[in-house]
């Protein structure tokens, strides 16, 4: 039995504060028991060098240890300066109020812990409790920032500030997917997800510490080349042209994908990952928009063809830069609205969060693709043949779209109409579980982080998917509908890691593919299971 960890232990010098042992992770049902002893592969010192690994032997950021005592002190000073700024109106006008309320009012009732898939699936490791990292931050704030804090620390909960505490706190802010299921169950509305996100922000904005995938290769590359994939406008156009040819070949439908049409009703912005990894999603949108006779366009401006906004996960400045860029492109193209493709975090970034940034003519209406698709399907303009989707379907709810924004029913009304064998997961809607790839985890894979994701943060979703299909034969192909690029990438990795295509015939894809798959008059299906067409 492990000794329970206390928040003050975060400053204790040791190789590893919390190590997941074999057999501790929540058990998987047959035929997946052979994975029950798996844990993230222990890191080798010769590979990690001077990277800090002492939280849980997993690395999300990869922070180099300070080389001297002076360097350590400078880092602590910088951390405290950043912490101070989190509590100043001028420096944190975005999230100061919810941060303060969440820090002041937690009653430690633990309702959030029971709701957290990472905590539950990890075998209830103390450090993954939603309140553990919040309590560390709360204690540091009370002791080092509040006047007289050092005197009262003995009574309100002491903590020592040193390099270990800082580095572990930074890493720990990347063991939460920011799914905010904890916040939704809290009786008084404390948002521990937001606290994790504000910790990330402190490290990024004040100390330049952030995962490479989110910052250097993420928002920086996005603003510079036009896409976090590194795709330039020329590459995007080349790929989309190829998608047009592919659509004709795969479905028999001839589609024309418009670029930079001034005055179009809709500017559709995809997550550019769709173009490279899920081209049928981009093609399906083009088919259904064309079939419905919509006036729409893509944009080839820098960042105009990639709706992602990784800033939402770690940095307000980068968040603002990207959001303003997107809105400005739409303004200059003189479109009536932006439609956001199947990308969850972009939904929340560009519609909800950016709403306070976009003033005057930058405040162009933004619409979820779920809503656009529902309007098309329900308009009666197009004929559908639901029997073409005659296979088991379940729906994954992307946290940002569903829990955070309340877009719950449009996608369900489409599925109820077009997928006769649709069944819900348990629980679902705003009570859904995260895919495990939220907040950037889907694209973070340095050291053993992808393994940690597959084994720990995605585990609950995998169990939910298996449960939804438990009455189906292992030989029947099954479709997990996940209308979000990062959720799809994560579910793809789950299926691959657990060999669930071979064992359970699990497949996955978006919502628009299912819609087009049931469109009457199509010569061939857009959905295939392996090399088998979904209908003939």
């Amino acid at each position: 039995m492990k000794k329970p960890l206390k928040p003050s232990d975060i400053s204790k010098k040791s190789d590893c504060l919390c190590r997941i042992e074999e057999g501790e992770l929540a058990p998987l049902p047959p035929p997946y028991e052979d994975f029950n002893q798996n844990i993230p592969t222990p890191l080798k010192a010769e590979k990690t060098g001077n990277i800090e690994t002492s939280l849980d032997n997993t690395v999300a950021i990869g922070i180099p240890r300070p080389a001297s005592k002076e360097e350590e002190e400078a880092l602590i000073k910088q951390f405290l300066s950043g912490l101070q700024k989190l509590f100043e109106k001028e420096n944190n006008w975005t999230f100061l109020q919810p941060l303060l309320l969440s820090l002041e009012h937690c009653a430690r009732c633990q309702t959030c812990s029971e709701a957290c898939p990472v905590f539950e699936m990890s075998g209830r490791q103390e450090i993954y409790r939603p309140i553990f990292r919040s309590e560390v931050l709360r204690r540091i704030y009370k002791k080092y920032i509040k006047p007289g804090g050092k005197l009262t620390a003995k009574f309100t909960g002491d903590i020592d500030l040193n390099w270990e505490a800082i580095a572990r706190l930074a890493e720990l802010s990347y063991r939460c997917t920011l799914c905010r299921r904890c916040a939704s169950v809290c009786p008084i509305g404390v948002d521990n997800g937001l606290i994790a996100r504000e910790i990330r922000k402190l490290f990024s904005q004040e100390m330049g510490i952030a995962p490479k995938e989110l910052h250097d290769m993420g928002t920086i590359q996005h603003l510079k080349t036009g896409s976090s994939t590194g795709m330039t406008a020329a590459a995007a156009k080349d790929s989309v042209e190829f998608i047009q040819e592919e659509m004709k070949e795969i479905t028999g439908y001839e589609v024309e994908i418009p670029w930079d049409v001034e005055g179009a009703d809709i500017l559709l912005i995809h997550n550019a990952g769709e173009i490279l990894s899920w081209p049928e999603n981009v093609g399906a949108f083009a088919i259904i928009f064309q079939a419905a006779g919509l006036s729409w366009t893509l944009s080839s401006e820098t960042a105009g063809y990639d709706v992602v906004n990784y800033g939402i996960w770690y940095d307000d400045v980068q968040l603002s830069r990207v959001a303003v860029r997107h809105a400005d492109i739409a303004r200059r193209l003189k479109v009536k609205k932006i439609v956001i493709g199947e990308c969850g975090h972009a939904h929340k970034a560009l519609t909800v969060i950016a709403d306070r940034l976009l003033t005057g003519d930058l405040n162009i209406p933004r619409e979820s693709a779920m809503v656009t698709l529902e309007n098309i399907v329900m308009s009666g303009k197009l004929k559908f043949d639901p029997q073409k989707n005659d296979f088991p379907v379940t729906l994954h709810d992307p946290c940002n779209v569903v829990r955070s924004m309340g877009i719950v029913e449009p996608q369900r009304r489409i599925l109820k109409k077009l997928a006769p064998r649709f069944r819900e997961m348990t629980p679902h809607g705003v009570d859904n579980y995260c895919c495990g790839g939220g907040s950037g985890f889907a694209i973070m894979s340095r050291y053993n982080f992808a393994e940690w994701r597959n084994l720990v943060s995605s585990r609950k979703k995998f169990l939910q998917i298996l449960k939804a299909f438990e009455n189906e034969s292992p030989e029947t192909p099954k479709y997990v509908c996940a209308p979000c690029s990062n959720c799809k990438g994560t579910i793809r990795d789950i299926i691959h890691y657990y060999r669930a295509e071979e064992r359970s015939r699990l497949y996955y894809g978006g919502l628009v593919e299912l819609t087009v798959n049931a469109l009457a008059g199509m010569k061939k299906p857009i959905i295939n299971f392996g090399d088998k067409p979904s209908w003939e």
């Binding site: 060098g49 994939t229 590194g230 795709m231 020329a234 190829f242 592919e246 997550n271 889907a442």
Partner: protein, 106 residues
């Protein structure tokens, strides 16, 4: 920064073994790396077709192509691609071709 020694030459690579200085790539690099990647018997004409296509595309567009486009333009299907490069198109083929690790939501 981790390094990788191949045939007596030292290369800077990231944690996943992707070449960091892209101009250090050479056909010898690919040949030597193939052994580490579990490709038996050296690189064949088909391997080179993939590697050359990837390098040309990357030079032109700054990003690796869609896998489907790679397959179509080289006439090598995705099943065969995995036989040629057991770690897959991104982690196997791109790495040998000296491309940067794929980024973004892919």
């Amino acid at each position: 920064m981790p390094t990788l020694e191949l045939n007596g030459k030292v290369y800077e690579v990231d944690e996943d073994g992707f070449l960091q200085e892209l101009d250090k790539w050479s056909p010898e690099f690919a040949e030597a790396y193939a052994k580490l990647e579990g490709i038996e018997g050296g690189l064949t004409e088909e391997h080179w077709k993939i590697i050359n296509y990837l390098r040309d595309y990357y030079n032109k567009f700054g990003v690796a192509p869609m896998v489907r486009k790679l397959c179509k333009d080289t006439g090598i299907d995705s099943k065969k691609l995995y036989e040629l490069f057991p770690s897959g198109p991104a982690k196997g083929a791109c790495k040998l071709a000296g491309l940067a690790k794929p980024t973004g939501c892919v």
